[in-house]
Amino acid sequence: MGCKANSLPQELSNPDLDFAESPPFDLLRVPLLGKFLGWKHVRTFLQVPLLIVGIVMILHGLLGPSLAPKNLATTLTWLHFRGILALVLLAAGNFFCFSCPFVLVRNIARKFFKPQWNWPRKLRNKWISVGIFVFVLFIYERYDLWASPMWTAWLILAYFGSILIIDGLFKHATFCKFVCPLGQFNFAASTLSPLEVAVRDPDVCTTCHTKDCIRGRREVSPSSELVILQRGCELALFQPRKIGNMDCTFCLDCAHACPHDNVGILSRMPASELMNVEDHRSGIGHFSRRKDMAALMLVFTFGALLNAFGMVSPVYMVEKWLARLMHVSMEAPVLGAIFAFFLLVEPLVLLGGAAWLTQKFGGSQRPWMPLMVRYSYALVPLGFGMWLAHYGFHFLTGMFTIVPVTQNAAASLGWNLGVPRWLWTGIPMRFVQPIELGFIILGFFGSLLVTHRLAEEDCAEHPMRAFLPWAAVCLVIWIAATWLMFQPMEMRATFMMSS
């Protein structure tokens, strides 16, 4: 019972074209805001205050109170930064990478230390960054980073150090594209953003011969030096062939470089790029052939469950049970087992089973692994829903804590900003919980929508047969996410204490 693939009309199989009829909204054309964002130095303008905040966080993390709720490093990092980041990704796009302070430091350093090498070809994939992403999730749980201002400060310093070393040695935006775990999180989440940096009129690009958006603009100085006047895309995304937000830092170098003013920040249907996994993307290739990219999406999705699981009551029972089973009293091996279950066993069982059912009953002609790779992108909305619910919860319930923490920090310097209002926390949990639930439901329907579109492409005659196994996977993840949300939260760092 084979199934014909790709038999959909072109306009249906390429969801990016669905909105071709009406001109998209362009953020760069909005009065005042557009002019501000189009200003050549806007990135630096936003990076400088974030760098100052980053330095303050480092100093307070190392020198301030050791209790996390009283320290700017932990409060800003684990409450405000994560929450605002996720909400901005949902509402707009990858504006954190746009204003990333680490890149500012790198840019300053590159005035003096010019990178000599290209990143090795074998490493031009997401495997390293996926590994670092998992590593950061692991040390977050193992060393309770949320509870340690000092380690949070060192984490920020490690970021600065890493980008200086990597981009000090290797050309282009190597750190952003191949190493930065936070960037990968942003890239994955921004596939669901409503805005993307894109070409306004594709016809203009067909007549363009300079390709400044990727090459940048240079001139030869009197001393025969080739001076770069304007960078092109450092992440190798050629605008006319760029699809979606993956690997795009919203730096707007392409927009500044384009001599035809043909690059904007355009509206699009969120998640549309996840439905389009077969087309070739500039700087990326085919989503459907990128196992590393699929692994990133799976870590993004199942990591969201894992990260939330680490904060609820049942995790301590599981940890104790595993410790007894493994005859260990150290947390690392127990945590390792939980990570292996969430990030290897669970995805393999769920996706492997769904792929087998799609072949067996859906009649898909695709082999097992390409099917798993293909549908892993469909799980991103669910993963993002879970991250939003988790990070949104901490941010919304604790958003005002920045006030007393800042008052307290100022008082330690002798500046009187009033008595710290320690009871200022945030929105009550009873209001936040429905919002959390909304994010998870939104993610669930987003995943179902992407899954259905992929199933239509897979099996135009009987799309439901290909759809149902993957819809079941989405349902399992959604049930797990909803169950997690209703568990009593216990932010513990000491799982063996009461064993």
Partner: protein, 141 residues
Amino acid sequence: MKFSFRRGGRGPLTRELLVLFFILGGIIFAVACTKSASQSTIVVSDTLLTPQPPQAGPITVNFKLSDESKSLTGAHISLEGDMTHAGMAPVFGEAKEVSPGQYQGQLTFNMGGDWVVLLHITMPNGKLVEKQIAVNGVQSK
């Protein structure tokens, strides 16, 4: 032909910024490595929390205070319970001296997890001292 990312006339400012960044980094590193613990002679001992194991809800904290091996009497102590995670509202209470140097107070932990009880101690001579009692693994109800 050599490649350069330098733009005319911007060198000195960026050089200063870079120098500033490294100096700041050096200061952070040096201070972080030499940060010392506070030098209080007050010791908190014989800490007892009820119920055991600690659970979310009302909790009684008993502890003994001594200063250079002598019981510390007549101190005024306010209690503050904080979670180890940022963003949660602290809870407050008072501790009374139930026998010389022995204090007892009540707090209401509003959720499970790791808590820290801060003792804001006002000594009889008016000196302020802060001490911590870690209350790990408070169980949800």
